[in-house]
């Protein structure tokens, strides 16, 4: 659903009940007003003329047909029209009533059984010569409005044959309420009368029987036309409102569409271009938010691409580096086979070399897996309590056979009880292993490597793993960047002869990821001393 359709529907859904409610309110107020006016008019009329109802001839006393006076504006009524200036007043007034409305019985309540279109006012069920005398003049306001008045006795019986029958329910209600005083009822039934006008039936206060109730009927009025006016006004208002909203929404919809197109084109060029931000409103905020998200995404994409490239390069170089020792290994074993076949003694040097190549390949593959883990980010690290004693023991023993073969003495010492830290077991072990391997690999025959784990007394809450050797060591100017050799392409092979490069680099990465430090220095025995230091597991410090 588009924004415009949504706005239109919202306005319609809101306006229709609102207009309906207003019309109902208008009608209700009008009804009440008419009711009050009629009541007041009826009471005023009865007040002024009630004595005449009681005094006059019986038929008149029982009510009369006001229309008669209207129908004969210039002459006496058809029946028993009596003299009197009063009638003149009635005539004068009735002359303004539209003639077509004068025919037939008044609309409203159902007629009494005796009444009918032909009966007109001549009929009088009681045969009391109703109409001989004129009914009292009707003093009513409203030029184009016709009024009738009928009198009823206590049993709701009228002497006027044209008087409508009062429904039972209304009688009952009026009788009960009537006890409480002057009460009126407005009939707005489903018939024609309801659309044309109002009726009010009320107890005449203080009036003596037989005139106990008076039905006052008003035909015509302002309601229908007023209602349709209101309806039209409401429709026009709704239309104007709708138009205004749609006109106001137009630019907004246009900007949103432009923004959507801009975002799509930014996505197409991998968020390099920015979405134009215009104005200082919510849509501008949205455009800024898109730019921020795009920048973040671009950064992530670049990081991922860099990692991918680095990893690809690493795998390429590693594959190269694994192929070399593998080739050497194949050659050495093949040489061994040949010598055995010829009955010659095997060459110890070549066997050691083969073993060394195999050992190197194992370490390389472990390092490859460590790099994948480190490059994968923080979430790849699985932090657990790590038993450093066991770790140092395992890492040392892994390289002991190789050291032994090369005539290098590798020893380790750990404290009691064990020291614990927190970290990724595999990575820390690989880091320590790399440092030890470096010490063994670049040492000479007859050399020494010592691995010492301790909790330094001068640095409580920390551990230190020191790997000391008496090998050739490294020049002071190289000390600072000994661990900086990374897989930077062909020139910086993991297997370069000058240094261990990758292994120490991984060790330093692991240390940094764990909040530990890896420091290089000269050992007191002339070689290299590497120290991995970090925090002990809180609450689990060794004594």
């Amino acid at each position: 659903m588009t924004l415009r359709v949504r706005l239109t529907l919202t306005i319609l859904v809101t306006a229709i009940p609102l207009v309906g409610g207003l019309m109902w309110l208008r009608r209700d107020v009008e009804r009440r007003t008419v009711e009050e006016t009629m009541r007041a008019s009826a009471l005023a009329f009865v007040d002024h003329n009630g004595w005449r109802l009681a005094d006059e001839d019986e038929a008149v006393r029982w009510g009369g047909d006001v229309r008669r006076w209207y129908r004969r504006p210039n002459g006496p009524g058809p029946e028993g029209r009596g003299p009197g200036g009063r009638r003149g007043e009635g005539r004068g007034r009735s002359g303004r009533v539209p003639p077509k409305k004068r025919a037939g019985a008044p609309p409203g309540l159902p007629r009494s059984p005796e009444s009918g279109p032909g009966a007109e006012v001549r009929r009088n069920p009681k045969g009391r010569g109703g109409g001989r005398r004129p009914p009292p003049p009707v003093e009513l306001a409203g030029e184009a409005v016709r009024h009738w008045i009928f009198a009823y006795d206590e049993t709701f019986t009228s002497a006027n044959p044209l008087a409508p029958v009062v429904p039972e329910a209304l009688r009952k209600a009026l009788s009960e309420e009537g006890l409480a005083g002057g009460t009126c009822r407005v009939k707005a039934g489903p018939d024609e009368a309801a659309r044309d006008g109002y009726e009010i039936l009320l107890r005449v206060p203080g009036q003596e029987p037989p005139c106990a109730f008076v039905l006052f009927r008003k035909s015509g009025g302002q309601l229908p036309s007023a209602s349709s006016e209101l309806l039209w006004a409401s429709i026009i208002l709704c239309g104007v409102l709708l138009l205004a909203v749609l006109v106001a929404a137009g630019p907004i919809v246009g900007r949103i569409r432009r923004l959507a197109a801009d975002v799509r084109s930014a996505a197409a060029d991998r968020y390099v271009s920015r979405v134009p931000v215009g104005g200082n409103d919510e849509i501008a905020d949205l455009a800024s938010a898109f730019n921020d998200a795009g920048a973040e995404l671009r950064l992530n994409l670049e990081t991922i691409e860099q990692r991918e490239q680095a990893l690809r390069r690493f795998v390429r170089n590693t594959t190269h580096d694994v192929m070399i020792p593998l080739t050497v290994l194949q050659g050495d074993i093949n040489d061994l086979r040949k010598r055995v076949e010829k009955g010659e003694p095997p060459d110890r040097e070549r066997i050691v070399q083969a073993l060394e190549e195999a050992h190197y390949m194992g370490s390389l593959l472990h390092n490859l897996s460590a790099v994948a883990k480190l490059e994968g980010g923080e979430h790849q690290l699985q932090m657990h309590p790590v038993d450093l004693n066991a770790l140092v023991q395992r890492a040392s023993e892994r390289h002991r056979p190789m050291a032994h073969m090369r005539g290098i003495e590798l020893e380790y010492g750990v404290p009691d009880p064990v020291l614990l830290t927190r970290g990724d077991l595999t990575l820390i072990e690989q880091a320590v292993s790399n440092v030890i391997q470096n010490a063994v690999r670049y040492n000479n025959e007859g050399g020494h490597v010592a691995v010492i784990l301790e909790a330094p007394r001068n640095k409580p809450g920390t551990f230190s793993v020191q790997v000391i050797d008496d090998g050739p060591g490294i020049a002071p100017e190289e000390m600072a960047n000994i661990a900086d050799r990374r897989f930077r392409g062909e020139s910086a092979r993991t297997r370069n002869p000058e240094g261990s490069g990758l292994g120490l680099n991984i060790a330093r990465d692991v240390a940094e990821r764990h909040g530990m430090t890896l420091t290089f220095g000269d050992s007191e025995y002339g070689g290299l001393q590497v120290e991995l230091a970090g925090p002990l597991l809180a609450g689990a410090e060794g004594a």
Binding site: A358, H359, G362, H366, S369, Q382, H384, A390, Q393, R394, E397, R398, R400, P401, M402, H404, E409, E411, Y412, G413, V414, P415, D416, D424, L425, T426, L427, H448, V449, A450, V451, I452, L453, E454, P456, R457, I468, S523, Y525
Partner: protein, 233 residues
């Protein structure tokens, strides 16, 4: 002591659960060469049929047909305390940590040297003996830890407090190098001058007092000292 004697007198039995033919055969050869008695099972479900308490140590590969190595470990650990050594090829922290949590004693990551595996096996088998014994014998040396007495052969040796503590500290971990700094901290009187140089002086005096067995207190390059039997020195 009685338990330790039994263990060393008979050939310790090792249960090896490894599915790879070549690696399994190699390990069996290494263990037999070290005077151990291996039983090799190639299938995980067959391993579950074994009673772990019939063995002195279990070597368990994690990737097995029939059952996962950790499931076997879990089943065995329900009512057995036999030491378990895990062989892991994946080198994943998760595997190792789970194995250790489930009660494995140690692990060896592939590829490994036969000597490396053997060192770990022997370390595991030696450990319980250490914890139980109060009387430690290394070559001709007999050290009564609780009685604070030292005999060379039949002859008692008079040692100072520091010398005895030094010897006892080494004796509690025979074959293992004890760092010099640790010894200085735990053996020397902290109120006096407890430097590593002082420690060396004490070691020198101790060696003299032990006479021929003085060689048992060996200097370990870069680390510290170790108590070793004369045969291995």
């Amino acid at each position: 002591m009685a338990g330790a004697a039994t263990v060393t007198a008979i050939r310790p039995k090792i249960l090896l659960v490894e599915d790879d033919e070549n690696l399994g055969r190699q390990i069996v050869d290494v263990l037999e060469g070290a005077d151990l008695e291996p039983t090799w099972i190639k299938n995980g479900s067959n391993a579950l049929a074994e009673s772990p308490d019939d063995y002195h140590l279990l070597i368990l590969d994690l990737m097995l047909p029939g059952a996962y190595g950790l499931d076997i470990l879990k089943t065995f650990r329900v009512d057995s305390d036999v030491p378990v050594l895990i062989l892991s090829a994946r080198n994943e922290t998760e595997d190792k940590v789970r194995a250790l949590k489930l009660g494995a004693d140690d692990y060896v990551t592939k590829p490994f040297w036969p000597d490396e595996l053997l060192a770990r096996v022997q370390a595991r088998m030696r450990r319980p003996v250490l914890q139980r014994s109060d009387m430690i014998t290394v070559g001709e040396l007999a050290i009564d830890i609780s009685g604070r007495r030292v005999l060379v052969g039949e002859d008692p040796v008079e040692l100072t407090r520091v010398e005895f503590d030094l010897l006892a500290a080494l004796a509690k971990r025979p074959g293992a190098a004890v760092p010099r700094a640790w010894l200085a901290e735990h053996v020397l009187d902290p109120d006096r001058e407890g430097t590593e140089r002082t420690l060396d002086v004490h070691v020198s005096r101790l060696r003299k007092k032990l006479g021929g067995s003085g060689k048992c207190v060996a200097t370990v390059w870069g680390v510290g000292y170790r108590l070793e039997s004369q045969s291995s020195s």
